[in-house]
Each structure stands twice: as structure tokens, then as C-alpha cells.
């Protein structure tokens, strides 16, 4: 029945002129198409952000290198950070959330399809505004192009006195726009999960991916708001003569830090929680076992969300807070490690006693587990605030958060791409290219980010466009750059795989991984309406029940 519907749809699409197809994509309110738009948009900016990272690494390959000027270097690290966080990580995770949440809870679309489209286009306009700064940032002052204030734009560096021209304005407006987009999507995801679950899907039967997206969306509502408020205050400072952050007129530089980091730290968890979600879906399927300790996984996630709202000032251990404040943020930060540790142990428990299949999605998830463990442990080191007085602001920190973002977030995202690509396109990604991608990326990643910790221990600060010889940093920086190139090549293999497999990949069928959640019960790609009749579920793994009528999950839950 449903496959008939698809056949009709594709023949119609092929007959239409290109303009009409484009028009359909631009005006679409379908959660699947918007999900794909988010993902493609993020991939585009991933390449841009990657090029910026490469420029940074080439400049730091040798001491006193002059590949780019200090001005260009400062713009590159500002744009790299802003792009990767706001225009790669956020949209790609919202993309997967948009695509998968309705499918996994048995719904036909998001709760507010038009809000969904509006949110996407707001976020998209944010990215394009940011990059328009290369052209428009000069403004009437003739100063600056792209912003060069760092991705956290500390006051008073972003004030008019130190950042003339419009570069900081583009940064501010871009983040405001994408922030409103994120809030819209978060509201949408929450409403969808609360009100559109199929019959039988109690909250306690929801796939973990839906649960974790729910928690993430709640955090977005809490965390993006202070960021938007701070951006508005900065605009008031810059254009209406306000003095919130204007230290020359009695404003407070630390106020901005508080506003930024009360957004900035929960943001890390906003990014990593959906990745926990991918891992929590992929590991069980490729271990052939249900997730170990489902209720504990949910509880640990909610716990992380709450505790992570009280840790922000660990980014500010060096600003001269009192010893009591430093102690408070030390213990809250260490406490986040407890629920996070529980999660790692539960994934371990899921694999224990299973029959692990080393398909590409699983390889990336195993890589994620090892690397996230290390990232967590270096995080504990920096939570000990006196140790952080040495590590903060050094390359050790840069290595630590890239371990989280690349070793954790990006690895699990790659896993998600290999896992759900068959559902989204109807074709499998090439397994050989996938394994090549995995191993190349793994080698490049460790060459870059393992070694990057050491210059930090040897006193190398971050955000410097060049460095002195004789401090023990030269060889390490050279090797780090080599690793970055290896990662670049691996990413090209991935992009090639995405393109080639789209045309030549093996047909996926409905359920290529023998999985258990609802999205695998319908055709690949799914029809516009998702489910011809809304399913009814009796357990967390409806497809397991279907495949094993003699031993259904519903008997034990």
C-alpha cells in the first residue's frame, strides 16, 4: 500500500521542472524535508568551518609562520568557533531531531509544521548573515571585516571602542536570529513529544532518542534565553548608549561572562545529549540487546540537564572569584561526571553479553565511547579549579573541548549518518568507504587532539597566531597540523560516500539493520504521511514484539 504511494510520488517529481521542485523544498513544512534541509545546511557549513580550521592549523605549523596575518587569523578562529557551534552542530542535531522524532513516536509530522519551517529559515538566515560580514562588516568606519572577537566575544572587546565597524553586529544579529530559530524548534519538539505520541506509547515506552531530544529542547529554552538577552544588551551598548558591558563607563566585563557561560555550558550538553541519543539507539541494535537500564538512562539525562545549569562559572575560574565560589563550581562540575559516568557504564552493560556487529555506525559509536571517556576525565582535571588555573586558556583546554566536540559529538553524528542514511535516502552508504572513513578519521583525530594536550601543559595559550621557538611547542604543533590534514581527507571520503551512495548505493529496504523502533517499520524513504495507519505499541521495542511474537518485550516491561 505505502510502496504504491511512493512510486506515484517519485514519477510525479521526475516530471516536474526544477524550479517547481526547488519551490517545493523552499516552501515545505514537512518535518522530513526540513530535517534534510537542516542537515544539508550544516554539512555546507561543516566544510566552511573545516577550511577555517585548516587555515588556523597551517598558520601554526611552524613558529613565526606568516601564512596569514594576525588579523586574518583572529577572524578565522572566531568564525570557526561560531560556525561550528551555531551553524553546524546545532542545525545538524535539530535536523536529525526533526527527521526522527515524529517517525519514532509514530506521528505524521511535528506539532507545528509552519513554526518548524519558520525556525529553520531563521537559523539559516543567521548563518548567511554571519558570513555576509566578510562583505558588509566594514560599514561606514571602514574597519574590520568578519568578527575577530572570539566565539564568546568577551566584553569589552566587542564594544564599539575595541570593535569598530559592523563585524560584531553581524555576529550579534546572526546569533540572535539563530537563537530564536532554536527556541522555535525546541518548543516544537517538546509539543510534538508531549502531544503526538501514538497509542500505547507512554513516556516510559518512548525510544531514548525521543526522551533525550525532549530534555535537550527543555535546556534550549532555558539556555538560549540569556544568550539572546546578552546580545540585545550588547546592541543597546553599541547603538543606544547603554553601559552594561562598557567598562570605560562603569560597565561590567564579568557580567557578560556570566551571561555568556550560563548559556555556554548548558550548550555543551544541548549538543552532546542528542548524541547520547544516537549512541543509545545504535549500540543496542548492533549488540542485539535492549538498552541496559532504560529508566536510569532517562534519570541520568534529566540529572545532567539540571546539574549542568549550575556549573557555568567553571569557565571563569581565573577571573578572581572568591574561594567559596570556586569551591562551589568545583563540586557542581565534578558532580556532572556522576550521571555521565552512569551513562557510559550503561552502554557498556548494553554491549556486555551481546553479539556485537562491527558495522560502520557501531564503529563510530565505539570510538565515541573511548573518546568521550577521555574527554570526561580531562574535564574532571579542569574541574579541580587550582589545576584549571594552569590549564584554562591553554591548548590543553582546546584539546579537551575538541575531544568532546569531535571525538564525542562528531563521531556519534557520523554513526548517525551511517545508521539513518538508508532510511532517509532509501540506499545504503558504502561499507568499505565507511570503514576507510572511520579508520582515517580515527588516526587523524588522535594525531591531532591527543598531542594537542601537551603544548598546553608546556604553557602554550590558545588564540595566538604565532609562537616563540624553543619552548617545546614546535614539533607538537607540526604533528597536530598533519593530523588535521588526515581528518580533512577522511571528511572528503565521507562526503564522497554520501554523494556516490545516493546514486549507486545498494537498496536499503525498510529495515536494513534488523532494528526495533518504529521508523524501520515503514518504507525508505518514508512516505509524506509517514504512517498509512497510526501504529499502536505495547513496549519500547515495537518491532521486536512484531518479530518475536513468542517472546515480546511487553511481557517484561
Amino acid at each position: 500500500m505505502s510502496s504504491d504511494a511512493i512510486a506515484i510520488q517519485t514519477t510525479q517529481a521526475a516530471a516536474r521542472p526544477l524550479v517547481q521542485t526547488l519551490h517545493e523544498w523552499v516552501t515545505t513544512v514537512d518535518h522530513k524535508r526540513l530535517g534534510i534541509l537542516y542537515i544539508l545546511y550544516a554539512l555546507f557549513f561543516l566544510v566552511i568551518g573545516g577550511i577555517e580550521a585548516t587555515i588556523i592549523r597551517i598558520q601554526l605549523m611552524y613558529p613565526h609562520n606568516d601564512f596569514v596575518s594576525p588579523q586574518v587569523f583572529n577572524r578565522m578562529f572566531t568564525m570557526h568557533g561560531t560556525t561550528m557551534i551555531f551553524f553546524v552542530a546545532m542545525p545538524v542535531l535539530f535536523g536529525f531531531g526533526n527527521y526522527l522524532v515524529p517517525l519514532m513516536i509514530g506521528a505524521r509530522d511535528m506539532a507545528f509544521p509552519r513554526l518548524n519551517a519558520f525556525s529553520f529559515w531563521l537559523t539559516a538566515s543567521g548563518g548567511f548573515l554571519l558570513y555576509f560580514s566578510f562583505v558588509g562588516g566594514n560599514g561606514l568606519y571602514g574597519a574590520g571585516t568578519a568578527p575577530d572577537v572570539g566565539w564568546w566575544a568577551y566584553a569589552p572587546l566587542a564594544s564599539r571602542a575595541f570593535s569598530p565597524g559592523h563585524s560584531s553586529d553581524y555576529w550579534t544579529i546572526a546569533l540572535l536570529a539563530s537563537g530564536f530559530g532554536s527556541i522555535g524548534t525546541a518548543i516544537n519538539i517538546i509539543a510534538t513529544i508531549i502531544s503526538m505520541r501514538c497509542p500505547g506509547m507512554k513516556l516510559s515506552r518512548m525510544p531514548l532518542l525521543a526522551w533525550l531530544n525532549l530534555v535537550m529542547s527543555g535546556m534550549v529554552l532555558i539556555a538560549i534565553t540569556p544568550l539572546s538577552a546578552a546580545q540585545l544588551m550588547l546592541l543597546v551598548d553599541r547603538y543606544l548608549g547603554g553601559h552594561f558591558f562598557d567598562t570605560q563607563a562603569g560597565g561590567s566585563a564579568t557580567l557578560w561572562m556570566h551571561f555568556f557561560w550560563i548559556f555556554g555550558h548548558p550548550e555543551v550538553y544541548i549538543l552532546i545529549i542528542p548524541c547520547f541519543a544516537f549512541v543509545s539507539e545504535i549500540i543496542p541494535v548492533f549488540s542485539r540487546k535492549p538498552i541496559f537500564g532504560y529508566p536510569v538512562m532517562v534519570a541520568a539525562t534529566v540529572c545532567i540537564a539540571f546539574v549542568s545549569l549550575s556549573v557555568w562559572a567553571h569557565h571563569m575560574f581565573t577571573i578572581g572569584m572568591s574561594s567559596y565560589a570556586n569551591s562551589f563550581f568545583t563540586i557542581t562540575t565534578m558532580a556532572v561526571g556522576i550521571p555521565t559516568g552512569i551513562k557510559i557504564f550503561n552502554w557498556l552493560g548494553t554491549m556486555w553479553g551481546g553479539k556485537i556487529q562491527f558495522k560502520t555506525p557501531m564503529l563510530f559509536c565505539i570510538g565515541f565511547l573511548f573518546q568521550f571517556l577521555i574527554a570526561g576525565l580531562t574535564g574532571i582535571m579542569m574541574a579541580a579549579s587550582p589545576f584549571d588555573w594552569q590549564l584554562s586558556g591553554s591548548y590543553f583546554v582546546v584539546a579537551h573541548f575538541h575531544y568532546v566536540i569531535v571525538g564525542g559529538i562528531l563521531f556519534s553524528l557520523f554513526g548517525a549518518f551511517y545508521y539513518w542514511y538508508p532510511k532517509i535516502t532509501g540506499r545504503m552508504l558504502n561499507e568499505t568507504l565507511g570503514k576507510l572513513h572511520f579508520w582515517l578519521f580515527l588516526i587523524g583525530f588522535h594525531l591531532t587532539f591527543d598531542l594537542m594536550h601537551i603544548p598546553g601543559l608546556l604553557g602554550m595559550p590558545r588564540r595566538i597566531y604565532t609562537y616563540e621557538t624553543g619552548r617545546g611547542w614546535d614539533t607538537l604543533n607540526f604533528l597536530v597540523t598533519i593530523g588535521a590534514f588526515v581528518q580533512g581527507i577522511a571528511t572528503l571520503v565521507f562526503v564522497a560516500n554520501l554523494i556516490v551512495s545516493y546514486f549507486k548505493g545498494a537498496k536499503a529496504g525498510n529495515d536494513p539493520w534488523d532494528a526495533w523502533t518504529l521508523e524501520w517499520s515503514i518504507s525508505s524513504p518514508p512516505p509524506v504521511y509517514n504512517f498509512s495507519s497510526i501504529p499502536t505499541v505495547a513496549s519500547r521495542r515495537p518491532l521486536w514484539d512484531l518479530k518475536h511474537p513468542e517472546d515480546p518485550d511487553s511481557r517484561y516491561e
Binding site: F162, I319, M351
Partner: protein, 359 residues
């Protein structure tokens, strides 16, 4: 009770130190490898956070060994478990066999791996809180040296209010005897954007923030030159806002201080150069005692020649570099706030000759 607790803590630290010696060894080997061919005159060329010579940095180092040992043990256990699982439970023929036993969870196990991490966190926190208090709330003994360090884009203004000394970029502090400590306390201010004071071998970093007074202290136990630099992004030339700390023996420090307290050389031999200084834009930003130059935007030049470097450590203090710096600062430090002076050759020669008399 209290004494027993303290002793147990000390024991842990001793064990931690020994175990972490391995890590130091690894870093040491890396250092030795990277040092070949290095020619910096500094006798502590690598600002390694594990090669410390000052009380606050040393107590951080001890804490860091403790943390490293604990996290190292966690790493070994979890890494071992993960590796074991991946190898032991790898599936062979896919689909040909039955599914493995479906296990949904276990309350006992969940409880165990919740409680153990909580205990570890409590221990780590207590050890950390002790060091936070020890460094931040350290009593101030008599005989301290007081310094006010002011961050500028992109250099360090250093004032010794008690001694009446003003200098820049090269901090001199006296050696401190552990039996009778004479630490140096620094008051940290900023004239423009945020900066951060970091000399890894002497102390952890503390930010210099406009409109805010911060404090840090050094208590060095070895003489020599220690390297650091600005660690909070402060603008275009953040990278070349370098900092040099000379730890002098008490005699050397007193001699240095006496020399710095002298007024600038007034012997009049280079009157033409002084005339250039006093009649161009130099004096808007720079001060030389006894002249009409009292600017504070740039470093005080009264004893310029007593410093080994110029441009906040970006270049050696040689006549050639001085010429280049005055005529075209962008050649040394593109984006620095020093303007190109565009002097005639004769004026430039005279000015550099005059500056060279400022011992």
C-alpha cells in the same frame, strides 16, 4: 580524628607524587626531544606546569598529580572494560544464530556504579578545596614585595608602589627563602580589554579585567628567568604580549631596584636625540623621567636599556631592532598600537643613540 585525616591525605599525596612521577618522566622526555637546538638565553626555556619553582605553582602541581592518578585509574578500569567487551562479545556470523539473552538492567549494578563515582567525587572535591583555600586565602607575611601589574593592548605595565619603580614587560622579583618567605603580591588591573597573567612555573593564571581588582602571588625558590605570556585573548597582537619574570637573589634584586629608582640619564651627550623625543609624538605615549614626556599609553622608557627585550618580548633589545620598531612597528608586531614614526634617517639615528643612553 582531625590529625588522622590530615595524615591520610598526606599519605595519598606521597603515593600520588610517586605514581605521577611516570607522567613527569614522559613530559620530560618530550621536553628533552623538543629542546635540541633551542637557543633562548632563558635558563627555564619551557614554561612547563610540572616543572615548578614557586609555592602556589607547587601546591597546584601536587594537587594535579593526585587528580591525574585518580583519573588515570578510572581510565584504566573503564578502558579495560570497554576493550574487554568489544573483544569478548564480538558477534561472529550475523543473523545465523539466535539473538543473545535480552537483559534489561540490574538495580544492584546500577547502584554500584552510582555510589562509587559519588565517593570519588567527594574525595576529589575535599582535596581540591584544601588547595583552593591554601592559595587564595594565603596569609600575607611581613616583607612582601608589592607590584601593580596593568594589562594594556599589548604590553604589561609594572609598578612597584613601595619602591617607586615603573617598568614594563620584564618583572623582577626577589628570591624567597622557604624558611622565611618573602613572596611577591601582584595587584592586577587592566587599562583596556581582558588579559591574563600566566607564568606557569611560578603561579596559575589570574585575569586582568577592566574595572576590577584581582590579585595573585609568587613565592619563587629558584633564581633565573621564567617565561609567560598573556592568556586571555585581548586583541590583534594577543600572541606577542609576552612576559618575562626574573627571579633575582635578594642582593641582585636590591641592586636592580636601586638602579631603577635613579632618574633617567641626564648627561646631555645625546641632546639631539632627546630633542627628537621631546618634539615628536613619542611623548604622547611614553614617559622618560626628567623630560617633558609623561605619557602612559606606552611603556615607561626611563630605564629602557635595562630591559632585554622590546615590544613586550617580541624582539631583542638591540639598536637595529629599536630602529626598526620606531620606524615600522608592523615589521615586528603587526597590529600593535605603536604608530610608525616616519622619522628622517638623521633624527632616527639620534633618537636611537639617545635611547641607548637610558641605562
Amino acid at each position: 580524628m582531625r590529625i588522622g585525616e590530615t595524615m591520610r591525605e598526606v599519605d595519598w599525596q606521597a603515593i600520588a607524587s610517586r605514581a605521577a612521577g611516570i607522567l613527569v618522566l614522559i613530559v620530560g622526555v618530550l621536553l628533552a626531544a623538543s629542546l635540541c637546538g633551542a637557543s633562548t638565553p632563558a635558563n627555564h626555556p619551557v614554561p612547563n606546569i610540572f616543572d615548578t619553582h614557586s609555592t602556589p605553582a607547587e601546591s597546584i602541581r601536587h594537587l594535579s598529580y593526585f587528580v591525574l592518578v585518580i583519573t588515570g585509574l578510572i581510565f584504566l578500569v573503564v578502558f579495560g572494560l570497554l576493550s574487554y567487551v568489544v573483544v569478548k562479545f564480538r558477534g561472529r556470523v550475523v543473523g545465523a544464530e539466535r539473538e543473545p539473552a535480552q537483559v534489561y538492567g540490574s538495580t544492584q549494578i546500577e547502584l554500584a556504579w552510582t555510589v562509587i563515582p559519588i565517593l570519588i567525587v567527594v574525595v576529589l572535591f575535599l582535596a581540591t578545596a584544601r588547595v583552593i583555600h591554601g592559595i587564595q586565602d594565603a596569609p600575607r607575611p611581613v616583607g612582601t614585595t608589592e607590584v601593580t601589574a596593568i594589562g594594556h593592548q599589548f604590553w604589561w605595565e609594572l609598578r612597584y608602589p613601595g619602591l617607586g619603580i615603573v617598568t614594563a614587560n620584564e618583572l623582577h622579583v626577589p628570591l624567597s627563602d622557604p624558611a622565611r618567605p618573602t613572596p611577591t603580591f601582584l595587584k592586577l588591573l587592566s587599562a583596556d580589554t581582558d588579559h591574563s597573567f600566566w607564568v606557569p612555573q611560578l603561579a596559575g593564571k589570574t585575569d586582568l579585567i577592566p574595572n576590577r581588582v584581582n590579585e595573585t602571588w609568587l613565592d619563587p625558590h629558584e633564581t633565573g628567568l621564567f617565561l609567560g605570556q598573556c592568556t586571555q585573548y585581548c586583541g590583534t597582537q594577543h600572541a606577542k604580549m609576552l612576559l618575562r619574570v626574573y627571579v633575582d637573589s635578594p642582593e641582585d634584586f636590591n641592586a636592580w631596584a636601586r638602579a631603577q629608582q635613579q632618574p633617567a640619564n641626564q648627561d646631555g651627550t645625546e641632546a639631539a636625540g632627546r630633542q627628537v623625543f621631546e618634539s615628536t609624538a613619542c611623548l604622547n605615549c611614553h614617559a622618560i623621567s626628567g623630560t617633558n614626556g609623561t605619557g602612559r599609553f606606552g611603556p615607561d622608557l626611563t630605564h629602557l636599556m635595562s630591559r632585554r627585550t622590546i615590544a613586550a618580548g617580541a624582539a631583542e633589545n638591540t639598536p637595529e631592532n629599536l630602529r626598526l620598531w620606531i620606524q615600522n612597528p608592523d615589521a615586528i608586531k603587526p597590529g600593535s598600537l605603536m604608530p610608525a614614526m616616519k622619522l628622517s634617517d638623521a633624527d632616527l639615528d639620534a633618537l636611537v643613540r639617545y635611547l641607548e643612553t637610558l641605562q
